[in-house]
Symmetry: C2
Subunit: 218 residues, 2 copies
DNA sequence: TCGATAACCATATGGTCGTATGGTTTCGGG
DNA sequence: CCCGAAACCATACGACCATATGGTTATCGA
């Protein structure tokens, strides 16, 4: 076999370049030529590693959402290890999705750009639906498990509660993007905390016999 | 003076054509040629009525947001005329922004498309900021007035309450777009009703001497 | 009725984009 | 040591777009 290169590394380098461009100036700025220049390669090489521009963009989008999900999961695992309440774990995990620093602001911009495209592009829509569904599902499962733990009343509808928490988190993200300073960030955290308190009204009893992993992670 | 035409009508016809195209297939589909064809005019005529494509798109966006605002205001006025509680008026007004029928789904698509562009285009961002600010401000004023009326505790922070209600409304809109059927729409309405109930905890006493117009409309 | 002028149109122009094409370079294996 | 295939590159191609240009048409005021 001839000359070799790390296939996955190259694709990651190219996708990262695309991510930077989209975060900085939107999807329209991510032309094949611009991505190649940003990544330090030729247009031909980008073509070599991706069948089409759509292929490249979809890969970039997936990469972004996977990274976000990964971070949230890691925070959840840390919260569990520290024996924190489910409400506290959720507050920290959902807040991680807020555009409060440059990295997450970039992710927010990329996410919104693709969200708009998802309205017209079925492939992008599938990725958006999957990630949103996964997060909403995780929240719902968390609420459900909170019943066993004792933090959540048994007659709570987990799916509805998850819908509310997820929607509030996303809606607040939009506002925080335009005004990420302390006062609003604190107000947003307070609102999410209140919403969580309205769902997780009881105290956690970790030794409940029906206890299971609170978020299905780990 | 020569041949005449209704200037505002032409601009409206063209903007409506652009609106239809954007609602159906996104901003990229709204090329000058496509808009002209959709409106039944020549490209030259569209150029005659708008200085540039950006000008046309901005006009289209403004038109859409103004129409939404107008409908909400009308609903508020009707609610006041019917002597409904502030919470009930807000529930109806905010719910009007949800993409539950084809018209509002189209508006949602146009709104999201421009929202994405607002991240990179200052002119579009200004329109987005103004309309969002206006609505958030109206909600905050409503909450404030609720204190005079007796529905809201005096120590409530109106701005924070408005932030929460506005964010929840928008977050739920995103979810409702993907699943506008009855079950989720009912759940969303229930969640918004609960959030409103958490702010408007008292009963309204319309004859309070400090009473003022609840939403500053009419 | 007759210009003047706005309304309206067809097409040219210059630029940009995604992709196709035809390379050259590099290196693993026989 | 050298063939062949993958890695990598420069550029051509065709499509599309926003805008510019140079009209034609219709109607209002005089």
């Amino acid at each position: 076999m001839p000359r070799t290169a790390d296939h996955d590394l190259r694709r990651a380098q190219i996708a990262d370049a695309a991510h930077r461009l989209i975060a900085h100036a939107g999807l329209d700025a991510a032309t094949m030529a611009a991505v190649a220049r940003e990544a330090g390669f030729s247009v031909g090489l980008v073509q070599h590693y991706f069948d089409s521009k759509d292929d490249l963009l979809l890969f970039t989008y997936r990469r972004t959402t996977e990274r976000q999900l990964e971070r949230v999961m890691r925070l959840v695992a840390e919260g569990e290890a520290a024996q924190r309440t489910i409400a506290a774990i959720l507050l920290r995990g959902l807040g991680e999705l807020w555009p409060l620093d440059e990295r997450r602001r970039g992710e927010y911009r990329v996410g919104r750009a693709f969200h708009a495209r998802s309205l017209d592009n079925p492939d992008v829509a599938a990725v958006a639906r999957d990630t949103a569904g996964e997060l909403r599902g995780q929240i719902a499962r968390t609420v459900s498990n909170g019943k066993h733990c004792g933090e959540v009343p048994l007659d709570t509808d987990a799916a509805t509660a998850a819908l509310g928490l997820w929607s509030l988190t996303n809606g607040l993200a939009d506002q925080l993007y335009h005004e990420p300073e302390e006062p609003l960030a604190d107000a947003a955290a307070g609102l999410l905390r209140e919403a969580l308190a309205a769902v997780f009204t009881g105290e956690c009893h970790r030794h409940d016999p029906d206890w299971t992993d609170p978020v299905g992670a780990g």
